[in-house]
């Protein structure tokens, strides 16, 4: 019986493919794309002011609201933070990934790999609150600066307008530090994977043809690992763009996109505006991917 079924399937490879791909594909279409479409549709509705009910009529009212200065500020602030975090993570991750990929012994590689991913095993919330304590006015960072009589340096940093605040935990700088920490593994792993795929002989060839270390990095290592950098940046950028907990726990009272969406769909019950807000990061991400493609990030894939 089982043999006959096996033979039956063997003779029909397309049916096998259908059976294998069918369920995830249906899930993907219904749950994933479907909910995105529902979001898109909702963003064209409006809220009746008195009743607080959603009126299902086509309107661009919500999108018009996005272009008020407050909301543009939210977009600008969030995108700016996402870019800053992505760049900082890229700079921190690359040398580490390079060391893991090129120099670490197989044993060391395993340890480092675990070290990089182990924070992901603990709750994200715990880590965020831990950073709140670390960066607090009475926290260890502050204590450390005091210990070396460098309080004035910290005060100087905190007095920078726009990104400063009364303490690290209440400033955009503190938020930036926490974001960088939280998303760092998502940058290290793709870069490391990309670097592992660059054969050593290519580096030797470059050096053989007269290139010093810096020239080899610029002409061979960076272009070939760039898809990994882009993959990592997609994680750090999009995760920062959508996060609403870190801006809430750390930082000042100025909103980020995630917080705006959270508050509009929550207590305010303004689903259409929340939906329209969500379209923002999606558009930003699409633009980001298009730019990345234009820069040739996917050519070496």
């Amino acid at each position: 019986m089982l043999n006959r079924l096996s033979t039956y399937l063997y003779q029909r490879p397309k049916l096998v493919l259908g059976l294998l791909l069918g369920p995830p594909l249906i899930y993907f279409l219904v749950v994933y794309i479907g909910s995105l479409l529902a979001l898109l549709v909702n963003s064209f509705f409006r809220l009746e002011e008195f009743t607080g009910l959603v009126v299902r009529e086509f309107t661009l009212e919500q999108y018009a609201k996005l272009f008020t200065s407050t909301n543009l500020g939210i977009f600008g602030r969030t995108a700016g933070m996402a870019i800053a975090v992505t760049i900082a993570d890229g700079i921190i991750a690359f040398p580490l990934a390079y060391y893991i990929a090129r120099f670490a012994s197989p044993r060391m590689k395993t340890y480092l790999y675990i070290a990089v991913t182990i924070p992901l095993w603990s709750s994200y919330l715990v880590r965020v609150y831990a950073w709140k304590l670390i960066l607090a006015k009475e926290g260890i960072v502050s204590w450390f600066f005091n210990l070396f009589g460098l309080q004035f340096v910290l005060d100087g940093i905190l007095s920078i307008p726009g990104i400063g605040g009364s303490s690290l935990s209440l400033s955009p700088i503190g938020m930036f530090i926490t974001f960088c920490y939280i998303w760092l593994p998502y940058m290290i792993v793709p870069i490391q994977t990309a670097l592992e795929r660059v054969p050593k002989s290519l580096l030797e060839a470059s050096s053989d043809l007269g290139a010093n270390a810096a020239q080899t990095f610029r002409n061979v290592i960076l272009p070939l690992s760039f898809p990994g950098v882009v993959a990592g940046s997609i994680f750090t950028f999009s995760l920062t763009l959508g996060d609403f907990i870190i801006p809430q726990v750390l930082g000042n009272s100025r909103f980020f996109i995630g917080q705006a969406v959270y508050s509009y769909q929550g207590t305010a019950g303004n689903i259409p505006l929340a939906a329209a807000f969500t379209m923002g990061p999606i558009v930003i991400m699409i633009a980001y991917l298009l730019i990345a493609r234009k820069m040739g990030a996917f050519d070496a894939l």
Binding site: S201, L202, S206, S207, D208, L209, N212, Q215, N219, A300
Partner: protein, 342 residues
């Protein structure tokens, strides 16, 4: 006295306990096609990598045209390498790959263009410049790797088993071409291979490596006709090694010697070999008919096995197969033996 292109002085390279290269002395002349031949793990590739600068000797010094380069990085050495896996940059076009060395040196774009075209002609790939390495066949990539190295006019070109990945036909064609290109550009080629036929075909001189040491250096004819050690006799071609009592009976000395299978004549027991011939009786134990020639395994007096190869000039497969079990007389010229130490 002319300075040699490459000179090794007591060069050793140890990887932990392993002596990959062990106290090697070597001199390679300017303009030579020099092969380093040996089985894998014999140290030939490590020697090449030390000339290129990818590896540094644990002890000893390496000179390039009289200059001690032992501690110079690859990019400060006037040598270029053709890698075993070609190592073409996958994100660059063929043009960009070939021009890489010139780009690094800061050569102007128009001059780069001219020299790249010249190189593409030399390796017979005109018009391929805009393609990516992934769009080329193995043989074509091989040529690009060669062009990329030669465009820099290195004093020495290093080739690390460059033909290993090609099929037999293409390999033979590239052997002829490489040799022709070397004659044309007139620079020193150092060629690493484990293929003895390849080394014999192309080289002016060959160094035979074994276990991190050089067993023998010489012209292809030297290496083949007069192997200096049992290893060389066995690794380059096939050989019969004879020592002890049998050797004493034949040559008057117990010292081991080698004689090539094709040098031995297979005669009838009644034959009388001429003077200067060494002879020994035996019985044919096995016959392998290979079309162009036949290989006989003969058990000779004294209980030693000798391999004899004879061209099938007048015989057919039927003829040779009947010789199994027959008594024969083996004889060869006394100049056709080589003392292999011991």
């Amino acid at each position: 006295m002319t300075t040699s292109a490459v000179r090794f002085e007591q060069v050793s390279r140890h990887f932990g306990e392993v002596k990959a290269v062990d106290q090697v002395d070597l001199e390679i002349q300017d303009g030579e096609f020099f092969s380093m031949l040996g089985p894998s793990g014999s140290g030939k590739t490590t020697c090449l990598r030390m000339i290129a600068g990818f590896d540094r000797p644990t002890r000893g010094t390496i000179h390039l045209y009289g200059q001690d380069v032992s501690d110079l990085p690859p990019y400060e050495r006037d040598v270029n390498t053709v890698f075993q896996d070609y190592a073409l940059f996958p994100h660059m076009t063929i043009d960009e790959n070939i021009a890489y060395g010139l780009m690094i040196k800061g050569v102007s774009k128009p001059e780069r263009r001219d020299r790249v075209d010249e190189m593409l002609d030399l390796v017979q790939l005109p018009g391929f410049g805009y393609r990516k390495p992934s769009q080329l066949s193995g043989g074509q990539r091989q040529r690009v790797a060669l062009a990329r190295a030669l465009i820099n006019h290195p004093k020495v070109l290093l080739l690390d088993e460059p033909l290993g990945a090609l099929d037999l036909k293409l390999r033979q064609q590239m052997q002829v071409e490489l040799k022709a290109i070397q004659k044309r550009v007139g620079i020193t080629f150092i060629f690493v291979t484990h293929d003895q036929e390849e080394a014999l075909t192309m080289s002016d001189r060959i160094a035979v490596f074994n276990l991190g040491k050089i067993e023998q250096v010489g012209t292809p004819a030297d290496i083949y006709e007069k192997p200096a050690t049992p290893f060389v006799a066995g690794f380059v071609g096939t050989s019969n090694l004879i020592s002890g009592e049998v050797a004493e009976k034949l040559t008057g000395s117990r010292q081991m010697f080698s004689v090539r299978p094709e040098k031995i004549h297979l005669g009838l027991p009644t034959d009388t070999p001429g003077k200067d011939m060494l002879s020994i009786g035996g019985v044919v134990r096995d016959v392998v008919y290979l079309g162009l020639f036949t290989r006989y395994l003969v058990e000779a007096e004294g209980g030693i096995d000798l391999v004899v190869v004879e061209q099938n000039l007048k015989t057919t497969s039927m003829d040779v197969l009947t010789s199994k079990g027959q008594k024969v007389l083996l004889f060869w010229h006394k100049d056709h033996i080589s003392r292999v130490g011991g």
